[in-house]
């Protein structure tokens, strides 16, 4: 029902089920990028000519629109290259100076593990139970042991689709004097996000997983915290005054946006979120596909599902007993079905489950039940060949 806005599907009959890696882009996003380059291409925040003013206005309007999409104010949103850079920025400009310990969960993506290691911060890992959920009692014990730490947790697990109970996790964290970053990479396209309601101190997103362009994302931070942060990179557009002896910097969020920004991508990002706003029944569509895929998968002999719980969004991960996930991935790809197999950049949780990886179906608004049927038929064929 929602394939029409996406030019990719006019050029291809591929069944695309790798949306947790990146989504296809609707025409409105491509138009926004094209309009910038063809109608008002100019640098932002420099000079005072008309064209530059237009680009700056559009860019700042995008900041306002994107921040309001997640319930934030415009001056609380820093543009970055994506979730990964948002986390790296925060580690470098803030956490390494104010904290010794970072608490993460076993479900985290490598991008929420490695940046902390690069700054030699002490990592404390919250285990997950058999259903891959964080046990709040275990979590609280860790907070008691490590109060006033920095906490960085995923909103939705990229490998298993688990949705963390953020309200409880964040309010408990605050009770123990901790500050919290939420990795929202997998949530932006699927869930309604309100950073104020959940009371996150920081929230990181990527555009490309939510129908937007690659190479752009954002970091939300409470303004009082952003003010405490050091610049991430030095360069043009982030300075107040520069001499050879000393430089002063602009206020947030511009303090963190050195050099020419990804202007076209930022405008595409805004268009993507405006596109999401127009879709009715987004969460219901997503839930219906997940339920259907789960029910159909369970009919296949030897299927090992990893997520039986109901708090799952966007993707479903499984294996077939006795068959390597990579073999399945290749044979599905030969049948025109694109999905991800492997460790999904979450090696530690794979090690905990004693597996090398999984087969992951991840959905977007253009996917249909019929596509799931075709995919699972192709899966059965692959299993027949491999057994």
């Amino acid at each position: 029902m929602y394939k029409e806005p996406f030019p990719f599907f006019q050029n291809s009959d591929i069944i695309y089920l790798d949306n947790a890696a990146t989504t296809q882009k609707p025409q409105v996003v491509l138009d926004a990028i094209n309009d910038y380059y063809t109608l008002f291409c100019s640098n932002t925040h420099r000079g005072s000519h008309e064209l530059g003013n237009r680009a700056t206005q559009e860019y700042e309007a995008a900041r306002k629109s994107i921040s309001s999409f997640i319930g934030a104010e415009a001056n609380e949103l820093i543009f970055t290259r994506g979730t990964t850079e948002s986390i790296n920025l925060l580690a470098s400009s803030y956490v390494k100076e104010h904290f010794d310990t970072v608490i993460i969960s076993e479900l985290e993506h490598h991008s929420n593990i490695v940046p902390w290691q690069l700054h030699e911060l002490h990592l404390v890992v919250v285990p997950v139970n058999e259903e891959l959920n964080i046990d709040l009692n275990v979590y609280e014990c860790i907070l008691q042991e490590h109060p006033k730490s920095f906490i960085s947790l995923t909103h939705v697990s990229n490998a298993f689709g688990i949705v963390n109970p953020l309200n409880s996790l964040i309010s408990l964290a605050h009770q123990y004097g901790c500050e919290v970053l939420i990795d929202g990479a997998q949530a932006l396209a699927h869930l309604s996000i309100d950073v104020k309601k959940m009371d996150a101190d920081f929230y990181a997103v990527s555009a490309h997983k939510a129908y937007g362009p690659t190479g752009v994302g954002a970091l939300y931070g409470k303004y009082a915290l952003l003010e405490k942060m050091n610049p991430y990179q030095g360069g043009g557009s982030m300075i107040d005054d520069v001499s050879f002896e000393y430089s002063t910097y602009l206020d947030p969020p511009w303090r963190f946006e050195a050099g020419t920004q990804a202007i076209a991508q930022v405008l595409g990002f805004k268009a993507a979120l405006e596109f999401i706003r127009t879709i009715e029944g987004l969460e219901a569509h997503n839930a219906k596909l997940l339920e259907y895929a789960k029910a159909q998968l369970l009919k296949i002999e030897g299927v090992q599902l990893y997520t039986y719980a109901n708090n799952v969004s966007g993707n479903i991960s499984f294996n077939i007993k006795g068959i390597h996930h990579d073999d399945i991935g290749i044979l599905l790809s030969k049948q025109n079905i694109m999905l991800r197999t492997g460790h999904h950049c979450a090696m530690p949780i794979m090690k905990k489950l004693s597996i090398e990886g999984t087969i992951r179906l991840s959905f977007a608004i253009y996917n249909t039940q019929e596509e799931i049927d075709i995919c699972l038929e192709a899966l059965q064929k692959a299993i027949r060949i491999l057994r």
């Binding site: 390597h324 990579d326 073999d327 290749i330 044979l331 049948q335 460790h343 090398e356």
Partner: protein, 153 residues
Amino acid sequence: MSPNSIQAAIDTLSSEFDLFDDVMDKYEYIIELGKGLKPMDDQYKKPEYKVQGCQSQIWLHPYVKKGKLYFEATGDALIAKGLVDILIRIYSGRSAKEILESDTSMLKSLHLSEIISSGRQNGIASMLKRIYGFAKETSASQTAITDLAKEQT
């Protein structure tokens, strides 16, 4: 072209592959090759023999016997094992010189994207690199031995 050359081995394989109209039949054949891959001695299933490539695990043990290079390998996924079997058929039992004089672009006629694409996550491409690397090392040490022998005479 010698009937036993690397090019001839590739040509034989690609004419076998040409018999398949359906790509799934071709991969079914590769899977059969994978199931039939000669087992490798478990002592070589160690980190130093592991080929980097993040999709599935492959171990490759290269060795020299009577001046020729031999390869034995194993893996945990069937298609990867089948592709490994293909590379062993092409490269095992040859001199270092013969391998180094052959160009990997010759493999394109097999129409196997898993071998051709050279991404960092492609274990088969890494295995190919290891084969050529071993040929280079062996060639260098064989030259050194010849030079030493010349010096001694």
